[in-house]
Amino acid sequence: MTATAPVDPTTASSATSPTGRGSAAAGARTTSTAGAAVALRGVVKEYAGHVALRGVDLDLAPGELVALLGPSGCGKTTALRTLAGLETVTEGRITVDGRDVVDVPTHRRDVGMVFQAYSLFPHLTVQQNVEFGLRTRRVARAERATRAAEMLDLVGLGELGGRFSHQLSGGQQQRVALARALVTRPRVLLLDEPLSALDAQVRVQLREEIRRLQRELAITTLFVTHDQEEALAVADRVAVMRAGAIEQIGTPEQLYSAPATRFVAEFVGSSNRLRAEVVDGRVRLPGQEVAAVGSPDDGEAWAYVRPEDVTFADRGVAGVVESVSFLGAVCRTRVRTSPDDVVVLDHRAHERREVGESVHVAFTPRAVAVVPFG
C-alpha cells in the first residue's frame, strides 16, 4: 500500500468483483441490463470566473459502483452532471463504451438518473412516473405497464402504483425515482446524493437496497455523496474529490487505511494525527518507533492512526486519562499526552480506565498511515 501517489485505477484490484455483463445472473428477468464502460478524460468545467472541474480523470468498469465523495463545492455533482449531459464540458472527453458523448444531448444518452429530491412528477401516479421513460421511447402500453409493475416490485413498492408522490414518504419517493430511472435499462446509472434528504435510518436501509439492486442488474453506477460512511459502505471504489480534482481513487479499504493525502486522511473516518519523522523506512512516533508501510520518503510527515488502532500498553507514550465516554459498542477515551496533544482511543468497555489515571498508549504498527508534509 503506497501512501504517496493516488492509487491508479487500472492497476488497483477491486475489493469486490462486479458481476460483469449481467445477463447470466439476471437470468430470465426482463429487467436485466448490461453496464457500460465509462471514462472521463481531462474533463474541465469552467463557469464565468470559476473553475468547477480541473481535469478529472475517472474510469468506471462495466457493472461497477464508484462513489464520488467530497465536501460541498468540490465538484462531484458537476462531474456527475457532465456525465449526464446536464452540464456542458469546457474541455475533455467523456466516453461511454468507447463512444464520445460530449456532444450528445442528455435525452439521447441513455443514462438513468436519480436526483436528491423533488424529481417525481407530481401530477402523475407512481406507475405513470415509472412508465415515463418508456413512454418517451414509444414502448407499447401493455409492455410499459408490465415492465413498470415489475420494476416497482423490485424496489418493494408493488402495491403503491396508484399513489401520488405527495402521498409517499421520502424513502418511498426515492425508490420510485430509482425504479423510474432503471426501468428503461440504461447502461449507466447516476445517483446525485439520493439519500441526503432522508432520515438516518431510512438512509441506511435504502443504501443497502440500492447496492443490492445495482449488483443484481450489473449496471455501471456513479454515486455522488458527501457522507463518507455511505460511500465506504456502498461502493466498489471510492474517488475522493476536492476543489475540482480527484485526490485519490481506491477501494474503501485502501482509502481508509492508506490515505494518500492529508485531505483524504482527514476526510475519511476519524483519526489521531501525530507529527512523525520518517528515517530509513522507519517511522518515529511519540514514544514508539514502527516500520513504515510502503516506502515513504524520509523527512517530516503526518502520521494518522485510527482510534481503534491505539491501545493501552505498558510502554509507549505516557499520558493522563482526560475523559471516558461510553458509546455502547465502544468506549472512547481521551488521553492527554502533552499540554497540546490528546490521543483518542476506541476500545471495549472492559478495558476502561479511570479519569485521571496515568497510562501508556501504543499504536498498532501496521495501522499507521504516513502522509508527507506539504
Binding site: E87, T88, P105
Partner: protein, 286 residues
C-alpha cells in the same frame, strides 16, 4: 444551471418583459403628458402642477385638501386600530388557542369573498348608528376600513408569526419575570417588527386607494374628492392620481424589500403553506 442548447434564452424573455412593460407604461406616461399640457392646449408646461400649489386656487381645491387630510388621518387611525386589535388577538390565539388559528384566518379572509360593494350595503345602517354616536367625520370610516384591510394585515403578520418561535420567547420572558403586557411590549412587538411594519404600510396603501365605501357612505376622502374634482378640473385629478400611485408604489416597494415574507403579496382563501407558498391575490377594494 442547466445550459439547454437552443432553449428560448434569457434574451427573449427579457425582450417580452420589455415590450409588456412599455405597453403598461403608456397610461402612466400619458398621465404625465396630460398633466403637462399647457392651458391653451398647444405646448407643454408645468402650468397645472404649479396651479395646484398656487394660493389663489386654494378655494377651488379645498375639497381636495380636505380629502387628502382626511385620508391621511384615516390611514393613521386605521393602521393603529388594526394593529391594536388584530395583533394581540393573533398572538393570543397563536400562543394559547391554536385551535382558533384557522377560524381566525377564515374570518380575516371573509372580506375577500364579500367585496366592498356588498359590504357597504350592510354598512349603511350600521353607520347611521355610528353617526349618531360619533358624528359623521371621515375618520369614522376607519372602523369599516379596518375590516377591508384585515386580509392583508393578517397575512403580513401571520407570515412573520409563523417564522418566529414566539412560544419559546414568551416562555423565556415569563421565566425571567415579565408579566403579560410587558411581554407583549418588550418581546412580542420587537420580534414581529417586520410583520407589523408591513401590515401598517399595506393598510396605508389600501386606505389611500379606497373609494367604494367612502363614496357610498358620503364621506370625503382623497379618492372621492379626486373624482369630484375630475369633473371640473381633470388635470388636478390626474396629477394627484399620479402622485398617489407613486406613493402606494413606494410604500409597497419598501415593504417588498424590507418587510415580512407574506406582506407584498395579495391575499386569497386557501391554505397558506407557511410563508413559502404564498396564496394568490385579490383586490379587496373598489
Amino acid at each position: 444551471m442547466t445550459r439547454r442548447r437552443g432553449a428560448p434564452g434569457t434574451a427573449l424573455r427579457k425582450a417580452v418583459l420589455a415590450v409588456v412593460g412599455a405597453v403598461f407604461a403608456v397610461p402612466i406616461a400619458a398621465m404625465v403628458a396630460f398633466s403637462l399640457r399647457s392651458a391653451d392646449g398647444t405646448g407643454h408646461d408645468l402650468g397645472h402642477w404649479t396651479a395646484l400649489a398656487a394660493p389663489e386656487n386654494e378655494r377651488a381645491y379645498r375639497s381636495l385638501v380636505e380629502g387628502v387630510t382626511n385620508s391621511l388621518v384615516l390611514a393613521a387611525v386605521t393602521a393603529v386600530l388594526v394593529l391594536v386589535l388584530l395583533v394581540p388577538t393573533m398572538v393570543v390565539v397563536h400562543l394559547r388557542y391554536p385551535a382558533l388559528v384557522r377560524p381566525l384566518e377564515f374570518v380575516c379572509l371573509v372580506p375577500v369573498t364579500v367585496p366592498a360593494i356588498v359590504l357597504v350595503v350592510g354598512l349603511a345602517p350600521v353607520y347611521s348608528v355610528v353617526s349618531r354616536v360619533a358624528g359623521s367625520g371621515a375618520w369614522t370610516l376607519a372602523l369599516a376600513y379596518g375590516v377591508t384591510v384585515l386580509p392583508y394585515a393578517h397575512r403580513a403578520v401571520q407570515a412573520d408569526l409563523a417564522a418566529t418561535d414566539l412560544r419559546t420567547l414568551t416562555e423565556a420572558a415569563r421565566t425571567l419575570g415579565s408579566g403579560g403586557v410587558a411581554t407583549l411590549l418588550h418581546v412580542v412587538v420587537p420580534s414581529l417588527r417586520r410583520g407589523l411594519l408591513a401590515a401598517a404600510f399595506i393598510t396605508v396603501a389600501v386606505v389611500l386607494g379606497e373609494y367604494t365605501i367612502a363614496s357610498l357612505l358620503n364621506r370625503v376622502t382623497l379618492q372621492t374628492s379626486l373624482v369630484q374634482v375630475s369633473r371640473s378640473d381633470p388635470f388636478a385629478a390626474v396629477i394627484l392620481a399620479l402622485l398617489a400611485l407613486l406613493l402606494a408604489f413606494l410604500l409597497l416597494a419598501v415593504v417588498g424589500r424590507v418587510g415580512s415574507a407574506g406582506a407584498g403579496r395579495p391575499v386569497l382563501p386557501g391554505r397558506d403553506v407557511a410563508a413559502t407558498a404564498p396564496a394568490p391575490a385579490r383586490k379587496a377594494l373598489s
